[in-house]
């Protein structure tokens, strides 16, 4: 017997998607951050490429030593490359924030309307319900971050600064956006499920679950203050660690999402 049936998960995803689309506040909170996070680096490149100050020679040499692919750039472009690279971490916030917002609304909403009892009295298994909710929460966040990244690439290549394109397509960006981002999203969904099972207000769930975003914010601050950039292999290693944590988190989420727990303890 299959543990998870695709048709059942599909039914849950379809229903969740319909509900998300009708929730204007949620749709707004899904659309706005990618727009801002895409616009910020584009504006920085467009406005700052001519205004960037030249670096002292020794600092310039240090940066190029850490990033040999930047050796073909001039002094101002190296400054821009360093500045633009800071935004990679902000692209990791999208797959963390959006799934957390959706999962919080989805689960707390079911608690508020008491709709889960009717769902749980159907042949739908808890694993299928959880998988459907996780997919419905995770996919918009990951797609939004990928779409924002694709837009950044396109605008940089066509309109703003083609010479910086190699900077935002190097290993760290690809590993970060394509691998670490979804891994963070998964952790975020789990956080949303775990926190939502203990609170009755989606905003509270988001605030508590927002702890997931703190390490990313810390990364942004540390990179900016320390003058270093995390490389691709480090992002891949981070993704591996997060996926291992996600396995443990999944067990906790499933335990908290048990049929009996939902029916007898969710208030």
């Amino acid at each position: 017997m299959r543990l998870i049936r695709g048709a059942m998960v599909g039914a849950v995803v379809r229903r969740e998607a319909r509900e998300i689309i009708r929730n204007r506040l949620l749709v707004f909170s899904i659309i706005l951050p990618p727009v801002l996070l895409t616009a910020s680096p584009i504006l920085l490149i467009a406005l700052g490429s001519h205004a960037a100050a030249a670096l002292p020679a020794d600092q310039m040499a240090q940066l190029i030593a850490r990033h040999p692919s930047w050796s073909g750039l001039d002094s101002r472009q190296v400054v821009m490359a360093f500045a633009i690279s800071q935004f990679l971490a902000t692209f990791l916030i999208l797959p963390a924030y959006i799934p957390l917002a959706i999962a919080s609304y989805s689960i707390v909403g079911e608690k508020q309307t008491r709709s889960l009892e009717a769902v749980l009295s159907t042949p739908l298994r808890t694993s299928e319900l959880l998988a459907g909710k996780a997919i419905a929460a995770l996919v918009p966040g990951v797609l939004a971050s990928w779409l924002a990244y694709a837009t950044l690439l396109l605008l940089t290549a066509v309109l703003v600064a083609p010479e910086l394109l190699p900077v935002i397509t190097d290993g760290s960006w690809l590993a970060g956006v394509l691998v670490l981002g979804p891994a963070i999203g998964l952790i975020s969904v789990e956080a949303g499920i775990i926190v939502s099972s203990r609170v009755n207000d989606p905003r509270v769930a988001q605030q508590i679950g927002g702890i997931v975003i703190l390490p990313i914010v810390a990364l942004i601050v540390l990179q900016g203050a320390g003058g270093f950039l995390v490389d691709g292999p480090t992002y891949l290693a981070g993704a591996t660690v997060l996926l291992l944590i996600a396995v443990g988190g999944l067990r906790l989420a499933v335990a908290l999402f048990g049929r009996e727990t939902i029916l007898t303890r969710w208030r």
């Binding site: 017997m1 059942m8 509900e19 009708r22």
Partner: protein, 331 residues
């Protein structure tokens, strides 16, 4: 799917097929027993009323029988499928109307039903046909594309009932199905319940509406932590010990007649109220001819005889142990 063996006999005493069975069913939350020692057999096509005060264990019983929570002791089955070992099969055979409608308010009526139709594996054609039939039955067809959040309480309740019926379950659990409905909608629901019974579906009806229970149910169970009494409404009223034969007389009865009546084996008590004798008996139809004969032979001038049986409310309070005081409060 393996069907678990249920060790108790497969047929009710009358030879009817068993749709719902519970044997020594109990459930504990922490150290507190919510329900204990429930033995129950419901025949296919039977409407069974579960009556009891709030907190009596009605919801727990329904959740146990619908494989939503596991028993702490005992076992239960639906159509022979064990609620623990064959939970998926049980859930495929039941329909549940929960205490609150629990609908998705940002979806339309059709989208709500469609979701549940998919969960029950109904094909698109079957889904469409049943959705239209049920929405028309409950007078919701014109609002089928309206968001449920804009529906009245009664409309939501009707939609929740339609949802419970969508996959044509063999056993239906209905928790207060007419609670939020106007008289017209409540009538439609009661008619639907009667029609479902006619189709051979077994219905467990949790209700506080004693009149509704009496009208709809073949048998009624009084529940408070365990099943205190279970029988047909008529027998429950008869067993309530409150059946009274009111005998109206033209003149005061002879002095020794009342004492002679009290000595008869079928008589449980005699009260004299003016020119009316109130004779308590266990079985009115059986006792009446003999009592009337004895009264006439004893010299009583009888004007009229009327049987007054106990109401289900009387029985309810007798079984539950207390009737709330009616005096002393505001008018």
């Amino acid at each position: 799917m393996t069907q678990s063996t249920v060790t108790v006999p497969a047929l009710l005493p009358g030879g009817e097929a068993v749709a719902v069975r519970a044997v020594g069913l109990g459930r504990r939350f922490g150290s507190q027993w919510a329900l204990r020692g429930v033995d129950l057999e419901l025949a296919r096509g039977e409407v069974f009323g579960l009556l009891g005060p709030n907190g009596a264990g009605k919801t727990t019983t329904v959740r146990l029988l619908s494989a939503l929570i596991a028993p702490s002791e005992g076992r239960a089955s639906i159509d022979g499928f064990d609620v623990v070992a064959d939970a998926d099969a049980v859930r495929a055979r039941i329909g549940v109307l929960t205490e609150t409608p629990g609908l998705y308010e940002r979806l339309t009526a059709v989208q709500n039903l469609e979701f549940f139709g998919r969960l029950h594996g109904l094909s698109p054609a079957v889904r469409q046909e049943r959705m239209e039939r049920l929405l028309r039955l409950f007078d919701l067809w014109d609002r089928r594309d309206g968001l449920v959040g804009t529906f009245s309480k009664g409309m939501k309740q009707k939609l929740a009932i339609a949802r419970a019926l969508l996959h044509e379950p063999s056993v239906l659990f209905l928790d207060e199905p007419t609670a939020a409905l106007d008289p017209e909608a409540a009538f439609v629901v009661r008619e639907a319940i009667a029609a479902l019974k006619g189709q051979g579906r077994t219905i467990v009806l949790c209700t506080h509406n004693l009149d509704e229970a009496e009208r709809l149910c073949d048998r009624i169970g009084f529940l408070r932590g365990t099943l205190l009494r279970l029988d047909s409404p008529a027998r429950l009223r008869g067993l309530g010990g409150r059946a009274v034969l009111e005998v109206e007389l033209a003149a005061a009865p002879p002095a020794d007649l009342v004492e002679r009546l009290r000595g008869r084996p079928e008589v449980q008590g005699v009260e004299v109220a003016g020119l009316t004798l109130e004779v308590s008996v266990a079985d009115v139809p059986r006792a009446t001819p003999g009592l009337v004969r004895a009264l006439v032979e004893g010299g009583a001038a009888i004007v009229g005889v009327r049987a007054r049986t106990a109401s289900l409310e009387d029985v309810y309070f007798e079984v539950m142990g207390a009737r709330p005081p009616t005096d002393g409060g505001p008018p």
